[in-house]
Symmetry: C2
Subunit: 569 residues, 2 copies
C-alpha cells in the first residue's frame, strides 16, 4: 500500500468526484457565449496574440482581441460527424463508463487512479523483474552467459540442492537474465552437463522459435555454453514474472478443508466427500475441488496452445503440471517447449514426421491425464489403480461434458488410422467458448478504463516538471533575476495560485481538484482568466490561461536553448 497515496487523499478529504467537480465547475463558470466558438481543437496550440509592457523590469501581458477568439476549427478529429455540437477545448478523465463500472475491481478505492489491486500486481511484477541474486547465496554465478548478464536463479531452493530440478534425466536450472544489447529480461533454462551431439535438431528449434501464441511461452534462442564450468545447453524464453507452475498452484496446497484433503488418502475411514452429496457445486466446495469453470478455462487455453503447436507440425512431448505456467489472472502458457525435442533428438531416425504424429497423440493422452488430475486435485488420480475411482469422482462432481472429454482423451482410439485431434474436443467445450470470450473481453474493457484514468496523470506530471524547471531557477544566462522577471514572474505568481491558496483568514486551502483544474486549463490554454496577486498585495494581474501557457512555453524553450547552446559550443 502506497502510504503517500492514502495519506494524501484521506487527509485532504478530496471526494472521489473531485475531478468531475472540476469539470462541472468549469462548465458552469464558463459563460454561455463561449459555446458559440463552435468547435475548438482538443488542445489549443496556436500562438496567442499578446501585448507586452515592461514596467520596472517586470513585463505585463495584455491579450489583444485576436487572442480572444478564433480557435482553430480544422483540428477536430473528423472520423465521427457530429457537426452541431461543441467539442471541449480541454481534456480530462470523464469517469468510468457504465458498462465497465459494473465489472470494476472490487478493491478500487478511487475512481481517478488505477485500482490498488492492479497497481500492487504490477509493482510486484516490477520488483521481481528487478530482483537481484544474493551474492552470498550464489557466489559462483557467471557474470555473463553469451549475451546475457545479471543472472538471477528463478526457482526457490527446494529439496533439490542448488536450485536444480530434474528434466528427462538431466539436471535443470532456470534463471532470469538481462540481454546485454536490449536490456530486456528473459528466462534462461539450463540443462546441465549436456553436449549437443549434432546440430540436426536445430531445424526443429527454428520451427519453435517461429511459433507465436498467447498460450505458449515464446522460445527466443538456444545455445550451448561453458560459462557454468560444464557443458550446458541454454534455452531462452520470454520471462513471465511471478508465474507459477500448475503444480505450485494446485497440487501443493494441501491444507485440509473439512478434514478432507486427498481423495486418495491412505486412510480408508476418511470421510469420502462424494458419498451423499447431490449438489455438485457444494461437493466441489466441500472437497476442496476446483470449480468446474476454472478447469474449462484451463482446457480452452491448453487446447488453444496445442492446436497451434500441432498445426505447426510440432508436439509438446512433455505436457505435465510442471511445464505449464500461470501468470496474471489465470493466463496459462505451455512452457519449456523444444527442450524434449532437443534432448531426445535421434539423429538416426529415418522418418521424424511419423514420430511427431505419434507424439501429438501422446500430447492428447497427457492432456487427459492432466485434466483428470486437476479435476481430482491429485497427481496420483491418473495412476492405473486409481483411474476408475477418479472417473467416478468426476462423474459425481462435474458435468458429463468434462467426463466425456477425459474419456475421449484417455481411451485408445479404435481406429489407429484415424488419429485423435484437439479440434475434436470443441463440441465438448461448446458454449463455454462464449463465456471465456466474454470474460477476456470484460477484462480488456476494464484495463482500457484503468488506462484512461492514468493517461492524464502522465501529462500533468510532465507539465509539473516543466513548471518546476522554470520556477525559482537561480539564474539563466548569467541573469540572476531571470526567474523573477517577465514571463517567469507570471509563472511564479501562477505557481502560488496553484499551490499556495489560503482561505480568508490565511490558513492553507489544500485541494487536489483545484490543482488538477488549474493544470488542465493551463495545458489546454483556455481563454478563462484568473487574478494573480503579487506577494506584497501591491499589484494584481489578470491573465488568461492561454497567456500563461505561452509564458511557460517561452520560458521553457529559453532554458532548453541555453542547455543546447552549451552542447554545441
Amino acid at each position: 500500500m502506497d502510504p503517500l497515496y492514502l495519506s494524501y487523499s484521506q487527509a485532504n478529504g478530496v471526494p472521489q468526484e473531485s475531478k468531475l467537480a472540476t469539470y462541472m465547475n468549469h462548465q458552469s463558470s464558463s459563460p454561455t457565449s463561449s459555446l458559440n466558438q463552435s468547435m475548438v481543437a482538443l488542445t489549443l496550440d496556436q500562438p496567442v496574440s499578446i501585448k507586452k509592457e515592461n514596467v520596472g523590469g517586470t513585463t505585463y501581458f495584455y491579450p489583444t482581441s485576436s487572442g480572444e477568439t478564433g480557435p482553430l476549427a480544422e483540428e477536430v478529429p473528423s472520423t465521427t460527424p457530429v457537426p452541431t455540437v461543441v467539442m471541449p477545448n480541454f481534456t480530462v478523465y470523464t469517469g468510468s463508463p457504465t458498462h465497465v463500472s459494473s465489472l470494476k475491481e472490487k478493491s478500487s478505492t478511487s475512481g481517478f487512479y488505477v485500482s490498488e489491486e492492479l497497481r500492487m500486481e504490477q509493482m510486484h511484477r516490477n520488483a521481481l523483474i528487478l530482483a537481484q541474486p544474493d551474492p552470498e547465496q550464489y557466489p559462483d554465478l557467471p557474470a555473463e552467459v553469451e549475451h546475457y548478464r545479471d543472472l538471477c536463479p528463478l526457482k526457490p531452493v527446494a529439496a533439490a540442492p542448488a536450485n536444480k530440478t530434474q528434466l528427462m534425466g538431466y539436471s535443470a536450472s532456470s534463471y532470469k537474465a538481462t540481454n546485454v544489447k536490449t536490456g530486456i529480461r528473459y528466462c534462461l533454462q539450463r540443462i546441465h552437463g549436456y553436449r549437443l551431439p549434432n546440430t540436426k535438431c536445430m531445424a526443429v528449434v527454428d520451427m519453435w522459435k517461429q511459433l507465436e501464441h498467447s498460450n505458449v511461452v515464446q522460445l527466443r534462442d538456444v545455445f550451448t555454453t561453458k560459462a557454468f564450468g560444464d557443458y550446458s545447453i541454454i534455452f531462452v524464453y520470454d520471462y513471465h514474472p511471478g508465474a507459477e507452475t500448475l503444480t505450485m498452484k494446485h497440487f501443493q496446497q494441501c491444507e485440509p478443508v473439512n478434514g478432507y484433503t486427498d481423495p486418495f488418502s491412505a486412510d480408508p475411514n476418511a470421510p469420502r466427500p462424494y458419498s451423499h452429496q447431490k449438489n455438485k457445486i457444494l461437493l466441489q466446495q466441500q472437497s476442496n475441488l476446483l470449480p468446474e469453470s476454472v478447469i474449462w478455462n484451463y482446457i480452452i487455453q491448453l487446447t488453444a496452445g496445442l492446436r497451434v503447436i500441432h498445426a505447426a507440425g510440432l508436439a509438446c512431448r512433455t505436457l505435465d503440471p510442471n511445464t505449464i505456467i500461470l501468470s496474471g489472472r489465470s493466463h496459462l502458457r505451455i512452457n519449456s517447449v523444444a527442450i524434449p525435442d532437443v534432448l531426445t533428438c535421434d539423429s538416426t531416425a529415418t522418418n521424424p514426421h511419423h514420430l511427431t504424429s505419434h507424439c501429438q497423440q501422446e500430447d492428447l493422452t497427457s492432456l487427459g491425464k492432466l485434466v483428470l488430475a486437476l479435476a481430482c486435485r491429485s497427481l496420483v488420480a491418473c495412476n492405473r489403480e486409481n483411474i476408475q475411482t477418479s472417473l467416478d469422482l468426476v462423474a459425481r462432481a462435474y458435468s458429463p461434458d468434462l467426463r466425456n472429454l477425459i474419456m475421449y482423451l484417455l481411451t485408445n482410439s479404435q481406429q489407429p488410422q484415424q488419429p485423435k485431434s484437439v479440434t475434436d474436443l470443441m463440441p465438448m467445450i461448446g458454449a463455454r467458448f462464449y463465456t471465456q470470450l466474454d470474460a477476456v473481453q470484460a477484462r480488456a474493457d476494464m484495463l482500457e478504463n484503468e488506462l484512461a484514468k492514468e493517461l492524464e496523470n502522465g501529462r500533468l506530471c510532465r507539465l509539473l516538471v516543466k513548471l518546476g524547471t522554470v520556477n525559482e531557477r537561480p539564474e539563466l544566462n548569467m541573469d540572476q533575476a531571470w526567474s523573477e522577471t517577465g514571463d517567469r514572474y507570471m509563472l511564479k505568481l501562477f505557481r502560488d495560485y496553484v499551490f499556495h491558496q489560503v482561505t480568508e483568514d490565511g490558513s492553507p486551502w489544500v485541494d487536489m481538484s483545484h490543482v488538477v483544474q488549474c493544470l488542465n486549463k493551463l495545458d489546454a490554454g483556455v481563454s478563462d482568466k484568473i487574478c494573480l496577486m503579487s506577494r506584497d498585495g501591491q499589484s494584481i494581474l489578470v491573465v488568461s490561461y492561454a497567456e500563461l501557457k505561452h509564458c511557460l512555453e517561452q520560458s521553457f524553450s529559453e532554458i532548453l536553448s541555453a542547455a543546447t547552446k552549451q552542447d554545441i559550443s
Copy 2:
C-alpha cells in the same frame, strides 16, 4: 497531438531507454554491501531516526545509525517464494515484456508513455463525452428530463429533419445526457409521440435491465415524459462514445474500388469481380468486400449476444445494421433492445412465451440476412431477386463454412417442432473461436502493458503536488520564514537539486530521467545520500532520501493540520 508531450521529449533528447538507464545507474552506483540488506519493502515507511541541530534558524539533520539499517523484511509480498534474491526497494517501469512487444502498437513513439494511437482514441472519446449542444442549433432542448440533464443530440443531422429517424413507424431521436445524481453520461433513446397503453410490458423491460453482456448495450431505465412537449417514452442505455452503427461503418462508404462498387449495380456491363478470379482473398480485395476474418469476428460477437438474449427468454426482434453498434476496435454490441418489445406490446396476447420463441427464430433469419449483406457489402443482397446471386458471390469469395452458416439461417426448418438455435452455429464457427480468443487476449495483454507504463505517473504527479504545496509557501501559521527553515529548507534545496541542475559552466542540464529517478528515490525513501548545496555555496548538506521523505511528510502534515484546524475553529 499533445504539443507538450512532443516538445518535451524531443527537445530534451531523452533517449527511449532513459528510465532504464535510471535503473541501471542506480544499480551500478549502489554499493554491493547494500545487497546484504536482504529483502526490503517496496516502499519504506518506517520513521527514520534522525538527529537534529539548529544553526542560525536552520535545522540540519544527521541520520543516526538506526536510520541506516533495518529495513522491514516482513512487508514483502509473500505469494511467491523467492527467498534468496534481493528485491529492489524502489519501483520503476521495467520496459515492455517481450511477449507484448511483438504485438505492440505500431505508431508507438515512446516506450515510456502510452502509445499515441491509444491516447488519441481515449482523448477523442473524452471529448465526445464532454461535447455540448450548440444552443443556436438546438434552442428547444429541455434543460432536464426526469433526472437527466445536459442533453446533447447524438446523431448527425442527416436527411431526416432535426435529428429524427424512423423506428417501427415512430419518430426516434437519441441524446447523450448526464445523470443528475451520479454525473455519469447515458444514451437516451426517445420515441416521439408514444403513449404507453399500460404498464404490462414493464415486466419484459425488467428482464432486459437484468441482462448484462459485453455484446449487448445495457438497458438502464425506461420512463415516459412530457418534457419535450409531447408524450415521449425514453429508453436509457449505456453510452458508448464514438460508436458507429454497422450501416455507417460498412454500408455507406461506396467509393468505387477498381471501378467496381456494388455487385448489384444497375449497369449490366459493369465488371463482375467474381468472373475469373480463383484466389478468394484477391477477390475480396478487388471487389471491396470485407475480409472473411472480419465477418467471422462479427458473427462470433453477434451469436454471443443472441445466445444470452435467447437464453434469458427474450428476443431481439429488430436485428439490422442500424441497431448494431461498433465501438473501439471492432467491439460489437446489439443496441436498442427492449424498444420493439414495448412498442409492439400486445396486452391482449394470451401466450407471450409462444410469441417469444417465434421472434427468436426470426432473430436467426435476421442474422442470416445480416451476414449475407455484410458478405456482399450490400443491403439489397438479401432481397428475394438477388439472393441466388448473393449466395454465388459468397461461395466464390468466401469459405464453405460461411455459406453453410448463411444457408442454415435462411432456410426454413423442415421440422417446425425442432426450432433452430444459435448454438447450432458453433460447429460452423469452429476453431475461429480460438483465433478470436487469441486476439482479445493479446489486446488485454497489450493494454495491461500500456497501463504498466502509465501506472507510476499518478504517484509521481501526487508527489510533485505535495512538494509544490510545501516549497516556497509564503507563510504558515503567521510564520513568514516557514518555507525557508527546518525541514522546508532541505526540501527547498532538494527542489533545486531536482529541477535546477546545471553543468560545470552554469548552463542548464535538463534531464527527465534525473527528475524521475530523484522522485522515485524520494518516494521510496531509500538510504542513498545526496549532496545539497545552498544557493550561496556556503553550506553543504549530505542527506539521505529517507530523511528527505521524512521532511516532506512532516512539512505536509503541518500544512494539513493548519488547514484542518481552521475547519474546526
